[in-house]
């Protein structure tokens, strides 16, 4: 099966590894976004600076962020490692790090939940088949109880204080970036990583834990808006609509709706990967957006996930609407401008064909037998390599265009 199209059977690449680790972090947070949004909405409504301040209901805010959300994350992390039993010990262990901590212990939960579950898994594997019939339930219950309890104690005494220190240090780092107006530089890292499918890892693995801490202190956070700003993606797709390769233009409107209104950012990643230089447009737009958010002092009360404009509108802090809308619009315009420039306003002849990079990705996606047929047809294809390849790829994307066209009409 290994061939030039499917280079390796095992995913050992650096990118795949980072994606995988990030995927685990995001995998613990993402199933619980509903709870995070519930908390965000309650916070936005009932805290003293909220829409309808209510002291009684505002009592929900603190326990939800300090206890409910970290425990859910520890529970989910445990479940990923060792099913329902892992989930239970993960939740119990998480309580050890959250009780008494004065920051939301997302990071602590992400560490101790899976760790406790892993230890239980080791125990379960070690005793498998060695338990006398009739004693299974006794052993199962007490092993989970003892391991969970031990980790709760370990969490309270050791892991909790360390992670609390780390979380506070990271929070101070964020404050430092904000104080020195350096926040926009974060986009230089975020935007490229995002299109390499590390979007969830960044947003939910890194920004969410830091963001909730800021919301708790200041009632809103800019951190939720950095990765999830739908502006740059909208600008990019608009640039493709007007100035992209003709074969790709028809697919842009549908992609814009799915991206901007539906919040599925993944839809625009391929358009960046096809012409990697467009990452500059994404970075420029991202930076412009973050700078606008920062200058206007806006923020959201929870993670707008998915990154749709509707989600943004729902969780924006009460005093932050102008800044939010400005930031999204400016990001879209800047990305559109830079991307259009990089696409030569549709006048670059080379742009109406495909880049070598695109040709390569198109080749990868290709069903091998076609390629074999091509090679069998003679090495002509190889000698004229590039042009033949790009024709073939253009044909493919053309078909892609008409297909999505049809879908839209249907």
């Amino acid at each position: 099966m290994a061939s030039t199209y499917t280079p390796q059977v095992t995913g050992t690449g650096f990118k795949a590894r980072v994606q995988k680790v990030g995927g685990y972090l995001a995998g613990m947070v993402m199933p619980n976004i509903g709870a995070l949004i519930a908390w965000g909405l309650i916070t936005a409504l009932f805290i003293p600076v909220g829409w309808i301040p209510n002291e009684n209901l505002a009592q929900l805010v603190d326990p939800m962020i300090k206890y409910l959300l970290p425990v859910l994350i520890g529970y989910t992390g445990g479940r990923m490692v060792h099913g329902q039993r892992g989930a239970v010990v993960g939740a119990v262990a998480t309580f050890g790090v959250v009780v008494g901590a004065d920051v939301p212990m997302f990071l602590g939960a992400m560490i101790i939940g899976p760790l406790a579950a892993y230890v239980l898994k080791l125990f379960d594997t070690a005793i498998e088949g060695k338990v006398r019939p009739g004693f299974e339930m006794l052993i199962d219950n007490f092993s989970a109880g003892i391991i969970g309890g031990a980790f709760a104690i370990l969490g309270k005494l050791a892991i909790g204080p360390i992670v609390e220190g780390l979380t506070k240090a990271a929070g101070n780092g964020v404050d430092w970036l904000l104080d020195h107006s350096l926040m926009p530089l974060v986009s230089v890292l975020v935007e490229p990583a995002k299109v390499l499918f590390m979007n969830n890892a960044i947003n939910h693995g890194v920004f969410s834990p830091l963001g909730v801490q800021q919301v708790q202190e200041q009632g809103k956070s800019i951190l939720f808006m950095i990765e999830s700003n739908p502006g740059p993606g909208l600008g990019l797709l608009a640039a493709y609509l007007f100035f992209g390769p003709r074969s790709l233009r028809p697919s842009a409107p549908a992609a814009m709706i799915i991206h901007f209104l539906g919040g599925i950012h993944e839809i625009y990643f391929p358009y960046v990967l096809m012409k990697p230089r467009l990452i500059l447009a994404m970075i420029a737009g991202g930076m412009a957006g973050v700078a606008t958010f920062m200058v206007t002092g806006t923020g959201t009360v929870a993670s707008p996930a998915p990154g749709s404009i509707f989600a943004f509108a729902a969780v924006t802090a009460r005093d932050g609407y102008v800044g939010m809308i400005l930031g999204v619009v400016i990001a879209a315009l800047v990305t559109f401008g830079v991307a259009s420039l990089l696409l030569g306003f549709g006048k670059l002849k080379s742009d109406q064909e495909l880049d070598p990079a695109e040709e390569q990705v198109a080749d990868e996606a290709e069903i091998p037998h076609q390629r074999t047929a091509d090679t069998a047809a003679g090495n002509a294809a190889d000698t004229t390599g590039h042009s033949a390849g790009s024709e073939r790829a253009a044909e493919g994307t053309d078909r892609a265009g008409t297909d999505s066209n049809r879908k839209e009409n249907a």
């Binding site: 795949a16 995927g23 390499l196 391929p270 990705v361 078909r399 892609a400 297909d403 999505s404 879908k407």
Partner: protein
């Protein structure tokens, strides 16, 4: 190189990073297109592709991870989320019961 016949595909899994966003979108599109064929279309995070999947579809940016999770499964990587030729080929192979090279 492996070949799978469209008729042997009973369960098609669309995988993405979190299994909550783009895979759900593509899975619902495919479910509509394959409605009459009786093929089950599911979505999942790329780290936990179900063991009974006959064919896995995922973006080429995640293909390396999909292969490490499910080394024995045929995997079809695609480039664009709307009307990718690789995905169209899968749909055709299932609808017409033809062979698909993966």
């Amino acid at each position: 190189m492996a070949t799978i016949n469209g008729k042997d595909i009973r369960k098609l899994v669309v995988a993405c990073d979190a299994g909550m966003g783009s895979s759900v979108m593509l899975a619902s599109t495919l479910r509509k297109q394959l409605g009459k064929s009786g093929v089950t279309v599911e979505h999942s995070p790329v780290n936990s592709i179900p063991a009974d999947a006959d064919l896995v579809v995922c973006h080429s940016g995640l293909a390396a991870r999909a292969r490490s999770v499910a080394p024995s499964k045929p995997i079809v990587p695609f480039q664009v989320f709307l009307g990718d030729p690789a995905v169209t080929k899968v749909v055709k192979a299932i609808q017409q019961g033809t062979d698909l090279n993966v």
